[in-house]
C-alpha cells in the first residue's frame, strides 16, 4: 500500500524513455536505409517511375441509312493536350506553346487556370484537329516542352454541303450548362457529345465509353512502359430509316429554296427522307464553332439552324381542307353539302373571297377538294363550328407533337374556344371559324404533323409515330424505341376516306389545282395549299415584297390505296401549292423509279411449313350494291407440310 503522493515507479518511466529511444532509432534506421544506402536506386526510380493517365477515346458510332450505306463516318485527327504532372511551369511556357500551336497565349493561360482544380492526372485539351505542322512542332519540342502531348481522336465526318444536316445534327464539346443538368451527369468536361438532331437524340448510344491507359513515362515525357489499359468501348452504329436515294432526290428538289420536305412510310412511320432549307455545314461545328460563324447562322432570317420539318409552325392553308373533309364526312355534313361558289360568300357580315375570283359554280365535296374551293369549306366550317373541327384535327395529331425521335419538336396550335380562352382570355369569334376552314387564322402546324395526319387518312385511320431509327435495331431494354412502334386507330368511315382520297387523286389531273406536277404512270393523291403569312391587303401595302410571299404546301401519297410513301412539302415563299407539288412529285418519282428498278420478293417461303402472308387487290360492289370499289387486304395461308406432288411425267409413264 502506498499513499496518493507516492511516485510512479522511476524504473518504469526510464524504461518508457528507452522504448521511445528504440522507436526513434528504428525510424532513423529506416530513413538511413532509404536515403543513404539505397538513395541511388530510389533516385532513378523517381526519374523512371511516372505514371500518366492517357485517355483512350472511344470512336463514335457511325450513322447509316436504311440499307447500311454510310451517312456519317469518323476520321482520325490529332489533338494537342497539356499534361500537368511533369512539374513544369505551364503558365511560363504558355507563350511558346501558343506560338507553336497558333493559339492566343492568354487563352492557353486561361485554360490552365480553368482546369486547375481538376485532378492532376487529367490532361488539358489545348487544340483539336491540329494541322500537320502543329503536330511537327510538338514532336520537335519533346525535350523543351515535355508537358505537350498529342492524342489521336476520331472526328466526325459529315456529308458535304449540309446534306441531311438538320436530321443528323452535329457534335460539340459538352457545355457547362449541360454538365449541370442531371441527365448529362455522366459526361465529363472535354467530352464531345451530340448537340442536335440524331447526334443529340441518340448520343448515349453513339458515344461509347472512353478507356484509359496508365503509361509509365520518364522525366522527359517518353513512354517507357504501360501499367494497364482499360479499353475504349466504341459507340453503337446507328441505322436510320432514311433512304439515301430518296434523301438525295428531296435535297435536290429543295436546293436553294426555303422550306422542308419530309417523306414517310405510312405503314410504319419510318421517315424515308427529311430536308430543311437552307442548310448549314455541320463539319464546321465538329469541334468548336467560331463566334462570328455562329452569329451569322443564328441571325440569318431564313433560319438555317432550324429543322423546319419539325420546328416551323405555319398556317397549313388549303391542305387543311383534307382534315375539314374528314371532319365534315364523319359528322355527316360534307357528303350532302352543295354550294354555289360565285367567287366569295358573306359570313357574319363580312365577305370571304374564294381564290378563284370568278367562282367555281356548283360545288360538291369532290370538286371542292380537287379544285380547292374556299367557299365550300367556309360553308362547311360554319356548319361544323370550331370545336368539332378542332376535335377531328386534334384526333389526327394537329397542334401536338408527333413524338418523332428528334430533339426540339414543336407542338403548333390547333385553335378551339377553350384554347382561345386559356391563352388569350378572349371569347372565340364565329368569324374566326371561317378562316380556320381553309387552314388560315390561328392554325399553325409543322410539316411532320401534316404528314402524319394525311398518312393516317390515307391508311384509313391507322396513325403511326414518325421515327428515324429502326426500333428493332436498338439494344434490349432501350425504352425510348418502344413507343415508335405504337399504332393508334383514328375512327374514319371507310367510304369517307376512299371518297376523299379519290378526290385527292384528281388534284394532279388537268381539272385539279396542280396539273403541272402530274407524272404519267404514277397514281398520286394529294392536296395543294397556299398559306398567307399576312393578309393580302397588308401584303399589297408592302408592294408585294417577296419576304411576305405566300407559303406553298403540298401533301400527297402514292399509290392511292394502301400507300407506300407519304410526302409533305413546305415551300416558303413558294406562292402557290402547285410549285410545292412539283417538289413532292420529284421525290415520289425517285421513290417509284427505285422500286421499279429493285427486284421485289413477292412471297418468301418460310423454312419450316407454317403460314405465308399474301397481299391482294380486288373490286367489290359497295354496300349500296351499284358501284364497284377497289378493295385491298392481306391473307394468311397455311402451307402444306409436304410439298404437293408434282408430276414429273405424263401418267402411265415411268411406273
Amino acid at each position: 500500500m502506498f499513499g496518493r503522493d507516492e511516485k510512479v515507479s522511476e524504473v518504469r518511466l526510464t524504461a518508457a524513455q528507452y522504448i521511445i529511444l528504440g522507436i526513434f532509432l528504428i525510424l532513423a534506421y529506416g530513413l538511413w536505409k532509404l536515403q543513404v544506402m539505397e538513395s541511388g536506386y530510389y533516385a532513378s526510380a523517381a526519374e523512371k517511375n511516372r505514371i500518366r493517365n492517357v485517355p483512350v477515346l472511344a470512336p463514335r458510332g457511325k450513322i447509316l441509312d436504311r440499307e447500311g450505306r454510310t451517312i456519317v463516318d469518323n476520321y482520325p485527327s490529332f489533338s494537342a493536350l497539356l499534361l500537368r504532372d511533369s512539374s513544369r511551369d505551364l503558365v511560363g511556357d504558355a507563350d511558346l506553346i501558343a506560338q507553336g500551336l497558333h493559339l492566343d497565349p492568354n487563352e492557353v493561360r486561361a485554360r490552365v487556370r480553368h482546369f486547375a482544380s481538376m485532378p492532376q492526372y487529367q490532361p488539358i485539351f489545348l487544340k483539336e484537329d491540329i494541322t500537320p505542322d502543329e503536330l511537327q512542332f510538338i514532336e520537335a519540342h519533346r525535350n523543351e516542352l515535355p508537358e505537350l502531348d498529342t492524342i489521336m481522336a476520331h472526328r466526325r465526318l459529315y456529308p458535304r454541303n449540309g446534306f441531311m444536316a438538320h436530321l443528323i445534327g452535329y457534335v460539340g464539346e459538352v457545355s457547362e450548362d449541360m454538365l449541370n443538368q442531371p441527365q448529362f451527369e455522366l459526361y465529363s468536361p472535354g467530352d464531345v457529345v451530340g448537340r442536335s438532331g440524331v447526334e443529340f437524340q441518340y448520343n448515349n448510344l453513339l458515344m461509347g465509353q472512353n478507356g484509359s491507359r496508365q503509361a509509365l513515362v520518364d522525366s522527359h515525357g517518353r513512354e517507357v512502359g504501360r501499367l494497364g489499359e482499360t479499353e475504349a468501348v466504341p459507340g453503337k452504329q446507328l441505322k436510320l430509316t432514311i433512304d439515301i436515294d430518296l434523301q438525295i432526290a428531296a435535297e435536290e428538289a429543295l436546293a436553294g429554296k426555303n422550306g422542308a420536305i419530309v417523306a414517310m412510310d405510312p405503314h410504319t412511320g419510318e421517315i424515308l427522307a427529311m430536308v430543311s432549307g437552307p442548310s448549314f455545314d455541320p463539319n464546321d461545328f465538329a469541334v468548336r464553332v467560331s463566334r462570328e460563324e455562329w452569329n451569322k447562322l443564328v441571325t440569318d432570317p431564313d433560319k438555317p439552324l432550324m429543322n423546319k420539318a419539325i420546328q416551323a409552325q405555319l398556317a397549313p392553308g388549303s391542305t387543311f381542307k383534307i382534315i375539314m373533309s374528314v371532319a365534315g364526312w364523319q359528322e355527316g355534313v360534307a357528303q350532302t353539302l352543295h354550294v354555289n361558289c360565285n367567287g366569295g360568300a358573306e359570313f357574319y357580315g363580312r365577305r370571304f373571297g374564294c381564290w378563284v375570283k370568278g367562282g367555281h359554280g356548283e360545288v360538291t365535296l369532290e370538286k371542292a377538294i380537287y379544285q380547292s374551293c374556299d367557299v365550300f369549306f367556309y360553308t362547311l366550317a360554319e356548319k361544323l363550328g370550331i370545336d368539332r373541327i378542332a376535335k377531328y384535327a386534334t384526333d389526327l395529331g394537329l397542334g401536338q407533337k408527333t413524338g418523332i425521335d428528334l430533339p426540339n419538336e414543336v407542338a403548333g396550335v390547333m385553335p378551339s374556344e377553350q384554347w382561345k380562352w386559356q391563352t388569350q382570355r378572349q371569347k372565340w369569334f364565329a368569324g374566326e371559324t371561317i378562316s380556320v376552314g381553309i387552314g388560315q387564322g390561328a392554325v399553325a402546324i409543322t410539316p411532320v404533323q401534316l404528314l402524319r395526319a394525311v398518312s393516317t387518312i390515307s391508311m384509313g385511320g391507322r396513325m403511326v409515330v414518325p421515327h428515324v431509327i429502326n426500333p428493332t435495331d436498338m439494344p434490349p431494354g432501350f425504352v425510348e424505341a418502344q413507343h415508335y412502334t405504337e399504332v393508334k386507330n383514328v375512327p374514319i368511315d371507310p367510304n369517307g376516306w376512299t371518297f376523299i382520297t379519290d378526290a385527292m387523286s384528281r388534284v394532279l389531273l388537268p381539272e385539279g389545282t396542280a396539273p403541272s406536277a402530274h407524272i404519267p404512270g404514277i397514281d398520286i393523291a394529294g392536296k395543294t395549299g397556299s398559306a398567307q403569312i399576312v393578309s393580302l391587303a397588308t401584303r399589297a401595302r408592302f408592294k408585294n415584297s417577296d419576304d411576305l410571299a405566300q407559303n406553298g404546301w403540298f401533301v400527297g401519297f402514292t399509290p392511292r390505296r394502301n400507300p407506300d410513301i407519304v410526302v409533305c412539302v413546305l415551300f416558303q415563299g413558294g406562292e402557290h401549292g402547285r410549285l410545292a407539288a412539283r417538289l413532292a412529285t420529284q421525290v415520289i418519282k425517285a421513290y417509284v423509279e427505285k422500286q421499279r428498278r429493285t427486284p421485289q420478293k413477292m412471297v418468301e417461303k418460310p423454312k419450316t411449313g407454317g403460314t405465308v402472308d399474301i397481299g391482294g387487290l380486288w373490286t367489290e360492289p359497295d354496300s349500296d350494291g351499284d358501284k364497284e370499289t377497289l378493295q385491298g387486304g392481306r391473307f394468311v395461308l397455311d402451307l402444306p407440310k409436304k410439298p404437293l406432288a408434282v408430276a414429273i411425267a405424263a401418267p402411265g409413264l415411268h411406273q
Binding site: A16, L34, A46
Partner: protein
Amino acid sequence: MARYVSYRDFDWVLLGFVLIICGMGVMEIHSATMHTKFAGAHVKQVYWVLAGVGAMFLVSLINYQALLDQIHWFYIAGVGSLMAVLVFGQKYLGARRWIKMPGGNHFQPSEWVKLILILAVAKYFADMRERELSWADFMKAAAIVGIPMLMVLKQPDLGTALTYLPIAAMGVFLGGLQWKQGLAVALLATVGLGAVFFIPRVHVLKSYQKQRLTSFVDPELDPQGSGYQVEQSKIAVGSGGLWGGKGSQTHGAFLPVPQTDFIFAAFSEEHGFVGALGVLLLYFIVLMRLTQNAQTAPDRAGTFVVMGVVAVLSFHILVNVGMVVGFMPVTGIPLPLMSYGGSSVLFMFLALGMVMNVRMRRFVN
C-alpha cells in the same frame, strides 16, 4: 495551502520546440500544395496553430485535479458523442466519423475522446493502491479504453481506434504490469490478429482495411492502391538522398496527400536525410522533455496524464513515420504538429495544455 500558479513555471522550452516543428510543417504544407487546389492551406494551418496555442493556455489554467474529479462525467459525454456519431453522423467516403455542427463545421468526436481517455486512465491508475496489477484491475483498465475503441472501430476508423491502444498500454505498464500478464496479452494479441486475417468468417476489419494491410506485406498485389502509395512514399523519401532533392514526387502529384498523412515523406524528399533526422530529433527532444515533466509531476495522476500524452504522441510518430519509410501499413494516422488539419493540431495543443497544467502545479501541495 497556497495554490499559487505562475507562467514562470510554464514550459516555455517545450513550447519553443513544439512551435519549431509546427513551423516546419507549415513550410512543407506550403511547398507541397503550391500548385494544387489546396494552395493556401499553410495559411489555414497557421491559424489552427494560433488557435491551438490559445486553447493550450486556456486548458493550462484549469486545475487538472479538478478535471480528474469530474472525469466520469466527461467519460459518459465522450461515449455519448461517439454513440451520436454512429446514429446521426455524416457519412463520407463510406465511414461515419463526423457530426455536422451548426455553421457548417464538422466535429469529429473520436479526437477529443482521446483526451478524455488519457485523463480517465490517469485517474483510474492514480487511485489504485496496489504495486502490482491484478487481473481484475487489468480488465477494468481494458474496458475503460475498449468500449470507446470498439465504437470508433464501428465507424469505421481503424487508425483513430488504434491510437487509443497506447494510452491503455502506457497506463497498464506504469500501473504495475506483471511479466506474466505482459506475456499473456502479447500471446492473445498474436492469436487475435491471426484470427482476423486467416479465419474468413471473422469480419472485424473491412475488406479495404485488410487490403491495406496485405498490400503492405506485398505491394505488388495492388500497384494502384495503398501499396502504390507506400511505394511512392518510399521513392519520395529515398530520392531525397542525404541533402534533399527537387521534390518531383511531391510536386508531380505522385505522392498521395503530401500535406496530411504523407507530409513527412514530402519533407524527407525535399530536405534529405539530414533534414528528416533533424525533425525526428526535435520530436525526440519534445518527448524527453515531456517525460521529464512526468517525473516532476506533483502526484501520480499528473505523471499518468503526461505519460498518456507521451504514449499517444510516440505512437503517432511511430505509425506515421513508419508508414512513410515502409515499415508500417497505411492506416491514415497523421503526423502530429506537422500534418495539415485542424482536428489533429487542436488535439495536440489541448494535450500539451494538460501537460503545462501539470507542470505549473509541480510545486503546489
